[in-house]
Amino acid sequence: MRITQSMFLRNTMQRLFNSRKILLDTQDRIATQKKIKQPSDNPVGFSRVQRLHESLRQNEVFLKNIEESEGWLENSSNLLEQVYQTIVDARIEATKGTDAVTTTELRASLAEQLRGIMDEIVATLNSTYLGKNVFGGTITKSATPFELNDLDVTYHGDDQFIKRRISKQVNISINVPGNQIMDTGIFDTLKETITALENDDVDALKAAIENMRQSEKKFLNINTVYGSKIDNLQLIKNRVTRTNENFQKFISQEEDAVLEEEVIKLKSEEIAYQAALQSTSQIMELNLMNYL
């Protein structure tokens, strides 16, 4: 085959351009530390990375929701615990009134004390968290949930749950609506107890205290169920955090350039390019003219 000047030039240029292009690409990967920057770099990899990014973003929202829910749950749980303790205290105080030696005056003063406790319970249950009623259902601002009128407590909230999304499939409720607290009958039994104390009626008092014990149990039940939510949430939080770490790892594997690998590539490409340049310059000088 005749090898002509133009063929020689064309092939040489093409190969040099190719080498330069490869060098440029490698340099680009090193400079940006990314293997995939746009869809056409690697369509399949790109879409995988984008999906992972999307899942990561969603999970971060879930994580934020979980963390905020935790605050709400812990606060509510503390309040419930506090109320429960107060109720237990009230019962123990009231039990003193069943004693045969207890005088009418002492019962009256116990009644007074219990009225104070009732005030305290209602005040605790009317607490707000970040400006929202904790136990008012979804009526978080427009009304105070529990209203104490002499010994009668009325509930102004609703029975709705406040929900938080903590994963694609799971929506958890984070509140205890006040009607559940009403249903335990603590206010009714407290009223019963106070009335019995004030009426100096020991038999009624004994019955009332027994009722209180029942309400107490129901209240504790709410407390326990609620407390287990915190544990569950903790588990979910750990899982989401771990998943996110994995996502980040996958994303990095998929789209980040491995520096060592790229530098080694760059080195070998550089050598190839230099060799091409050198051989070209040597061969370019060679022709018959040098020998005529």
Binding site: T4, S6, K37, Q38, P39, S40, E54, I162, R165
Partner: protein, 447 residues
């Protein structure tokens, strides 16, 4: 035979080798000219009746490698199409530069994230303003993409016109060269014509028929564009088809529409008529669906004051170009609904439902983000494929050019060898003349 006739032969040899060296120098000076075809000296015996009159040089012969040349013309059409398509598609890809934080998928996630915040804090004005803010960013992003695509589209029309003008000029030149060659063959004109054909075949799908005289007829889509007496100029016109403007390439004189399926021009026309509207429609569908689904849920909710039945996005959205938040909501963010009708202020279930749309399969391809990813991957695939085809096409053409040049290209070593050869022959011819001169002198001395 007389001594003086030997002088004549010597003179002719001198002239012949002079001319041969000229041809060689012509070849050398054009060694790096891609469109130059090597000339070869063709020596001939000059016969004058009974006696030989020495050497003569015919016109230098221009070498051809027709097979490779025609192959190049037909492969060039694909190269032009792929390369141009790649250039145009990369412009589209830049529009969706997802590496940046303002990429559409990020913006969509942020939008749904804002609804999630509102669901957590349905009583607050702040969360409503955040939702409005993110919705505005979303609509701005759609508008930006729309504007960018429109810019790309707008630039295609003048580019097509320029390409068509360029093609017309080349056709004119071929027309003129055809007429010249008809009168008088001229290798330099043929070089020029081959260069034009090479460029023209990259721009347009053409077929070439060459006549014995060297004139060529250029056809496209079976229509004769140029011969020695026919000259059909092309023009690009914009027509309206079902509300979409499309570019049509037609013959200026007759208005006959040409089917341009290869070359740079085809890439432009296809991109304008098919690819861009297709991409736009995919995004339009995304925007429409998104607005529709959000509105559907939003209408079922009410805000804190108990107002209900509002669309969140404008109700008449047709695509990304008119994607916008409902004006009443822009003016008054407190109209954003968060609770079901009759629900209490702490109930964020409507906001939650809207936020949950991000997980809902509202497209065949899945969620809004998956739909968009599928779109991007499709674009990336197409671009990568075009790039690959362009590169392999380039290799094919390079091979063909090498084939052609192995016959028609200039080899320096060969030319140098010829030069030495001709120079020596020239010296020898000169020696013949001096020898004849001496012989003549000898004859004279005899007198």
């Amino acid at each position: 035979m007389s001594i003086s006739s030997i002088l004549e032969i010597g003179k002719r040899s001198l002239l012949a080798y002079q001319s041969a060296v000229r041809t060689t120098s012509d070849n050398i000076s054009n060694a790096n000219n891609e469109y130059y075809r090597r000339r070869r000296v063709s020596f001939d015996q000059l016969n004058g009746g009974y006696s030989r009159l020495g050497l003569s040089v015919n016109d230098a012969v221009r070498l051809r490698q027709r097979f490779a040349e025609y192959q190049i013309y037909s492969e060039n059409q694909f190269l032009g199409k792929y390369q141009n398509a790649q250039r145009l598609l990369s412009q589209v890809e830049v529009v969706f530069n997802e590496g940046s934080e303002a990429g559409l998928s990020q913006v969509i996630s942020d939008f749904f994230g804002a609804w999630n915040d509102l669901a957590k804090d349905p009583e607050s004005d702040y969360a409503r303003n955040l939702v409005l803010d993110k919705a505005m960013v979303l609509s701005d992003t759609f508008s930006r993409i729309d504007g960018d695509l429109q810019n790309i589209k707008d630039q295609i029309v003048p580019e097509t016109n320029m390409a068509v003008d360029d093609i017309n000029q080349k056709l004119q030149l071929i027309h003129k060269i055809n007429q010249q060659i008809r009168k008088q063959p001229n290798p330099d004109l043929l070089d020029q014509r081959d260069r034009i054909l090479d460029e023209l075949s990259k721009q347009l799908n053409i077929q070439i028929k060459e006549k014995d005289s060297g004139e060529i007829n250029v056809y496209s889509d079976g229509i004769l564009l140029v011969s020695h007496d026919v000259m059909n100029e092309l023009e690009a016109v914009q027509v309206n088809e079902n509300g979409n403007t499309k570019i049509k390439i037609q013959i200026k004189k007759s208005g006959y529409a040409l089917n341009i399926n290869n070359g740079e021009l085809a890439a432009l026309v296809e991109f304008y008529n098919e690819s861009l509207p297709e991409y736009k429609e995919k995004l339009d569908s995304l925007a429409r669906n998104l607005a529709e689904k959000v509105n559907e849920i939003h209408r079922q909710g009410e805000n804190l004051d108990g107002s209900s039945g509002f669309d969140f996005f404008a109700s008449d959205i047709t695509g990304i170009s008119d994607f916008r938040v409902n004006q009443v909501i822009v003016e008054n963010a407190s109209l954003i609904a968060s609770k079901p009708i009759g629900g209490a202020e702490g109930d964020g279930s409507i906001a939650q439902q809207i936020s949950d749309l991000q997980f809902a399969s509202i497209f065949n391809e899945g969620t809004a983000n998956e739909y968009y990813q599928t779109f991007l991957t499709g674009l990336g695939n197409r671009l990568q494929e075009t790039e690959f085809l362009g590169n392999s096409q380039e290799m094919i053409i390079q091979q063909l050019k090498n084939q052609r040049d192995s016959v028609t290209g200039v080899s320096m070593d060969e030319e140098m060898t010829h030069m030495v050869q001709y120079q020596q022959a020239y010296e020898a011819a000169a020696k013949v003349i001096t020898t004849v001169d001496e012989m003549m002198a000898t004859v004279m001395q005899m007198v």
